[in-house]
Subunit: 156 residues, 2 copies
DNA sequence: TATTGTTATACTCTATAACTATA
DNA sequence: TATAGTTATAGAGTATAACAATA
């Protein structure tokens, strides 16, 4: 008997994570640093506060990550044009090139995974995945009130 | 247009990870420590070497994890009956109870996720998931030779 | 006053290297 | 010699709290 659905989903998570890590062995880039670079590529130059929200870590942790990435030549801190307190963290050309390649790898992996599924199975597979994702979202929302909800309750 | 397949798989990973973490807020249990306890529940009392292999970390890291879990009252080090060098890390009744509950939650989540998928979609969904898992395994095996393969090559 | 980011401090996880005790 | 585990040391990531500069 094959292993349970949940175990296969967890196995998929594990393999996807390995695939991500494999792409950066030999560089000074760890998973949290790659994540920061990835966000910068997606949304463009950002303040550290914005990065803290996207990465779901404290502003202090972003400072440390940006320090490391600056030392490695992956990002630079530029003054914010409108706000003297803030900086705009910006990818260097080196890092922008790496992230563009990572984006290509991402697209290629997407294609490889779709290709692996029998065409006849694809619609049901995608519906099933969406259903699982939605259910997971509901379960988490039900049991773990969001930050916004906690704040609203406090405000009463 | 909905987001791509790969992004939905990554989103699923992220939500599963959150669900796992949510279960242990308020305790002194971090993700690596929970992982160790989980392995102990699955395979029974184990040497630290065995745990190091299962967790894919160094023996030194296992020492640190076991130290922390011992201090928290979750595991005890018992002498190995046949090997004076080794210890058998064993769950305390406290931790065994927590892990049994975690196993139940795991089973309940499994049922909730299957329930979320339309019965008519389930066979194709499972085939698709298996296909994705297999393809991911192939890609990783092709590009990242296993430890065993590296060792065999060195032995030539 | 509120916000942005840094300095100060501490804890966890990880790793390598050297060492002890046992096989 | 080889293996199991620890001590010593170091680096990364995370967090909270106090502070500086700017809004």
């Amino acid at each position: 008997m094959s292993s349970a659905l949940l175990d296969r989903l967890l196995a998929t998570s594990s393999l996807l994570q390995r695939d991500m890590q494999r792409a950066f062995v030999g560089t000074s880039l760890s998973e949290p640093r790659i994540h920061l670079l990835w966000v910068l590529q997606q949304v463009g130059p950002s303040t550290q506060q914005t990065l803290a929200e996207k990465l779901e870590v404290t502003a202090r942790s972003v400072s440390a990550l940006v320090d490391g990435l600056t030392a490695g030549g992956y990002v630079v801190r530029r003054p914010h044009p409108d706000d003297g307190r803030a900086v705009l963290v910006t990818l260097t050309p080196l890092a922008a090139g790496m992230m563009a390649r990572m984006q290509e790898d991402h697209t290629a992996l997407e294609a490889a995974l779709i290709d692996a599924v029998e065409p006849a199975d694809r619609p049901a597979f995608e519906r099933g995945l969406d259903a699982v994702l939605a259910r997971l979202g509901e379960l988490l929302a039900a049991e773990a009130p969001s930050y916004a909800e906690v704040e609203a309750r406090r405000g009463r």
